[in-house]
Amino acid sequence: MISKNLAAASTKPMILAILRGGENYGYQIIQRVKEISGGDVEWADGMLYPVLHKLEKDGFVSTRWIISDEGRRRKYYKITAAGKEELNTEIKQWMSVHKVFEKLWEPIPAYQQ
């Protein structure tokens, strides 16, 4: 499990990255994160929606309501051009952090599992 702060910071790039792979709705996004992380990254499900709402307000995603096969209305989220750009910025930031850690932690075998 990752810490609350780290989860909060990583939510936005993760969502954008998932949406880069195609249009999707909230429940599926959460399932994907769970699947990829093997359960290590888990959000309080309700907390996802305010973030999605914020991304929509900032213009990084566009939304539409689709009626599913079971007749349930679902809100689908699709990444916009601005969203992709934002994702790239995020990736750059995360990668630079990643590089620092790589260099810092490499000689210490105890941290390499």
Binding site: Y25, Y27, A44, P50, K75
Partner: protein, 881 residues
């Protein structure tokens, strides 16, 4: 059966309550919830389990709401959702104040009732606090107070334990010498003397004391050297007051005062008048060395007790307990072995002496019980006043419902409304505080003269007192205001607007309980006051067993007078209004007692019994009208009476265990056995608080200290003048003092009278405040029921039945409160009355009378409003709708 859709709808409702959620957000969350549930059902969970899991997984509604709000809001500064009120709104405080003042003005009678009650309550608490602080301040001015201790004596005799303030005379110097922890030991030896400087001649209380007194106590000297002042024999140090009385404004150091018309004492110093809060009261301090004469009987006597008191100053850091333990050795060393177990010497710090309760006390004390009683009474009154506030405020909650509704609609939170109502009670309390300060200001002189205290507003410089006042204001406004604030702020806007709230009867039971409680306190006070008054009356009116109405007593100071006593008697008896005259070593209420140990014939020395001895002449029994039960009184024809006979009282006969006392022989110490020739009926020699002591009467015409005269009260003034002239003629060098026996006896019960007076004042106040509370409530009930009364009258109800309709609940409550309080009052009074050897029985008529009285009073109180309601024209109350 678990209904999933219903549950989901309920969950959605909970989202709707949070203003952050818009319809779309909720729909999206619902879809998510349903996906979660379906997944769980597929996994084989029950619908219920799946629902509960999904709701938990989505998270707390308020947290999600907050996140939505953050992503929606444009207000980046406070981050506070718009529907949440800010923590700090200074503008509102002014508004609270304005509304409070408006409300106080609008409900004038209720506000006045509250202010009246609370001011009196606060004033009572203020006065009592002042009194307590004043009493606690006693003896605090001594720099060495933590190290000054008073020694007292516990005596264990076969007939019982007796604790007294007196200490044997040689104890102090011996203790100072042998116990290293003691820095100084000071004796006080009280006596009364005739003091003269030329023509100025008065009897004064005099204290013989050791020269180191000024090193122990903080009694600063105005003139003289404190190290040397009392080091010489026959020197005195006097107070400023005495200096002025005898020497005017000049410095008296070096001058002399004449004591007892024969001894010259040199004034070696003048001390500043002792502060009012000193337990030790002294005007003239004389060197104790002046007493060291061969005739002085107590100098080396370790088993004789007189008015001798001992104070110690311990060295820094020494333990009082250790010193107390060393006393035992000291006693063992100096008292004969068979008597050593009798005396246990104890110590108390000077802080405690003002509140101690020892026999033969020398310092000024106050029984702590009285302080507790007053503290309790003051808090009762404040409590009653707070109850009025609570009752009147909750009763009118319906009237203020609209205001609360509007405020809530405009966004006020419950907490803010509570704050608003609390600020109202705060303002009322502050107003009451000012009124109470005025009341206190005018009452202080009365209290001071009644309690012989010295309370003043200078206490406002005392931090404790100011803190008490601040605490009092806060506690009162919260005690009175908190519950009403919650009740009033509870109004539901919707129902208020619809008008449902008008019939709000919330708090009915609480009001009932509070009224019962309030009346219970008042009834308790009334019953106690009446009983205490009865007891004080009983003590004053109680027949002491002798004739005290017509007795004039003249203390004799002139030792020469005894030789001419017969001549003086004859001179006095020449006046027709003087019926009998007697000389004796003591009289009832004189405070002059002498005790010794007696053994009856055939008993061992160690079976001696402690008795009071009274030395009398042939006329004592006749003059005091005492009754001889058996045998005879002393008679001149039995010439051997002086050497061979005793009279004893009934109690003494019982103590000796004599069934037929006449002819039995007893002896005093090492004297010869003497025969009992008569038994006198018991009479009260001192206060009725004390049992009658066993007394032996001895015939002795040469040791008189009191002259008692039975007079005809028809011409009292002239007779007193005649007596004064004659006594003065026989002992020209001594001013003549006199007093009336019954006045002395009444003095004994001054404390009870004072308590009675104060308590009755307090209970009248308590009753008035309670009645005003009832008055307020009745007016409210009458107003609330005006329509009901109108309809009843239209339908033909009589005025009587309407009176009963309003009145019956109050009467019921008052009756209940009476009955509840009876056992408590009975218990308390019984305990108090048990302090007295002679006491009244608890009078149940007082209980019944209080019940009848309180119901009557309640009826009168309710009268105006109920009659107004009952006689009002129904048209007026019914046409308004």
């Amino acid at each position: 059966m678990f209904n999933l859709n219903k549950k989901i709808n309920e969950w959605k409702k909970s989202l709707h309550k949070n203003p952050s959620f818009e319809e779309g957000y909720i729909e999206e969350l619902e879809s998510h919830l349903r996906d979660l549930i379906e997944e769980k059902i597929k996994e084989g969970k029950s619908t219920k389990e799946s629902f509960e899991f999904a709701v938990g997984k989505i998270g707390k509604v308020n947290d999600i709401g907050e996140e939505y709000f953050k992503s929606d809001t444009t207000n980046k500064i406070s981050g506070r959702p718009s529907w949440k009120s800010p923590r700090w709104m200074p503008d509102l405080i002014w508004n609270y104040f304005k509304v409070a003042v408006r409300n106080i003005k609008k409900y004038k009678s209720i506000s006045l009732t509250n202010i009246f009650g609370l001011s009196i309550g606060i004033a009572s608490v203020l006065l009592i606090s002042m009194l307590v602080i004043y009493e606690m301040s006693f003896d605090q001015f001594h720099e060495n107070k933590s190290r000054i201790f008073r020694v007292y004596t516990e005596t264990h005799r076969p007939e019982g334990e007796f604790v007294m303030a007196c200490v044997m005379f040689p104890f102090a110097p011996a203790a100072e010498e042998e116990i290293p922890e003691i820095e100084h030991a000071v004796r006080f030896c009280e006596s009364s003397q005739l003091v003269a400087n030329g023509d100025k001649k008065f009897y004064e209380k005099l204290i013989y004391t050791d020269e180191n007194i000024f090193n122990v106590f903080s009694f600063p000297l105005k003139y003289g050297d404190k190290e040397k002042a009392l080091s010489q024999k026959n020197t005195v140090v006097i107070s400023e007051k005495i200096a002025e009385k005898y020497f005017g404004n000049e410095n008296p150091v070096g001058k002399t005062l004449l004591f007892l018309n024969k001894d010259n004492y040199k004034v070696a110093g003048v001390f500043y008048d002792l502060p009012h809060n000193s337990s030790i009261e002294a005007e003239i301090l004389a060197s104790i060395k002046s007493l060291y004469t061969p005739e002085f009987p107590r100098l080396e006597n370790w088993t004789s007790f007189s008015n001798d008191y001992t104070f110690l100053l311990l060295k820094k850091g020494s333990s009082a307990k250790a010193v107390e333990e060393k006393f035992e050795l000291l006693i063992k060393k100096n008292v004969e072995p068979e008597l050593a177990d009798r005396y246990v010497m104890k110590m108390q710090n000077i802080n405690e002496i003002h509140f101690s309760d020892l026999n033969y006390e020398f310092v000024r004390t106050i029984p702590p019980l009285y302080i507790y009683i007053f503290m309790a009474v003051a808090s009762f009154i404040l409590f009653i006043a707070c109850i009025n506030f609570i009752n009147l405020s909750t009763a009118r909650s319906a009237r203020r419902g609209k205001e609360v509704g509007i405020r809530k609609v405009a966004g006020a939170s419950r907490f803010q409304l509570v704050k608003q109502f609390l600020s109202e009670s705060f303002i009322i309390t502050i107003i009451s505080l000012f009124v109470s300060l005025i009341i206190t200001y005018y009452l202080l002189p009365e209290i001071n003269s009644l309690l012989r205290s010295n309370l003043s507003f200078s206490l406002f410089y005392n931090v404790d007192f100011v803190l008490i006042i601040i605490a009092l204001v806060f506690v009162t406004s919260i005690a009175a205001g908190l519950y009403p604030a919650f009740v009033l702020s509870n109004a539901k806007p919707v129902s208020v607007m619809k008008g449902d709230n008008q019939k709000n009867n919330k708090g009915y039971y609480l009001r009932a309980v509070l009224i019962v409680f309030q009346f219970a306190l008042s009834v308790f006070l009334i019953i106690s006051t009446i009983t205490i008054y009865n007891q004080a009356e009983f003590l004053t009116k109680h027949n002491p067993g002798f004739n005290d109405e017509q007795m004039l007593v003249v203390p004799i100071y002139d030792p020469q007078l005894n030789q001419r006593s017969e001549a003086l008697k004859n001179a006095l008896l020449s006046d027709n209004n003087i019926l009998n005259v007697t000389f004796s070593s003591g009289t009832p209420a004189s405070g002059s007692t002498s005790t010794s140990n007696f053994v009856s014939e055939g008993k061992n020395e160690d079976e001696e019994i402690h008795m009071q001895i009274l030395e009398i002449d042939y006329d004592f029994i006749k003059t005091y009208g005492l009754q001889v039960l058996e045998g005879r009184e002393f008679l001149k024809e039995f010439s051997a009476d002086e050497k061979e006979s005793y009279l004893i009282n009934e109690t003494a006969a019982k103590k000796f265990g004599f069934e037929l006392p006449i002819g039995k022989k007893i002896k005093l110490g090492d004297e010869q056995f003497q025969t009992i020739v008569g038994v006198i009926k018991d009479f009260n020699y001192s206060s009725l608080r004390e049992e009658i002591s066993p007394t032996v009467f001895k015939l002795n015409t040469s040791n008189a200290r009191f002259l008692s005269l039975q007079i005809n009260t028809a011409e009292t003034e002239r007779v007193v003048e005649f007596v004064k002239e004659n006594v003065a003629a026989f002992s020209p060098n001594y001013p003549v003092e006199y007093y009336f026996m019954n006045e002395r006896f009444e003095n004994y019960y001054k404390a009870e009278r004072t308590i009675g007076k104060l308590l009755s004042a307090f209970s009248i106040i308590a009753v008035i405040i309670s009645c005003i509370g009832i008055l307020g409530l009745v007016s409210f009930v009458a107003e609330q029921k005006s329509k009901e009364i109108g309809i009843r009258k239209v339908l033909g109800a009589s005025v009587g039945s309407i009176l009963l309709l309003i009145g019956k609940q109050f009467i019921k409550w008052i009756a209940v409160s009476n009955i509840i309080v009876w056992p408590l009052a009975h218990m308390f009074l019984n305990k108090w009355l048990n302090n007295f050897a002679y006491r009244v029985d608890i009078n149940y008529l007082v209980f019944a009378g209080t019940l009848a009285g309180s119901i009557l009073l309640a009826f009168i109180t309710m009268g105006y409003h109920t009659f107004k309601a009952a006689y009002s024209n129904p048209v007026n109350s019914l046409r308004t709708e």
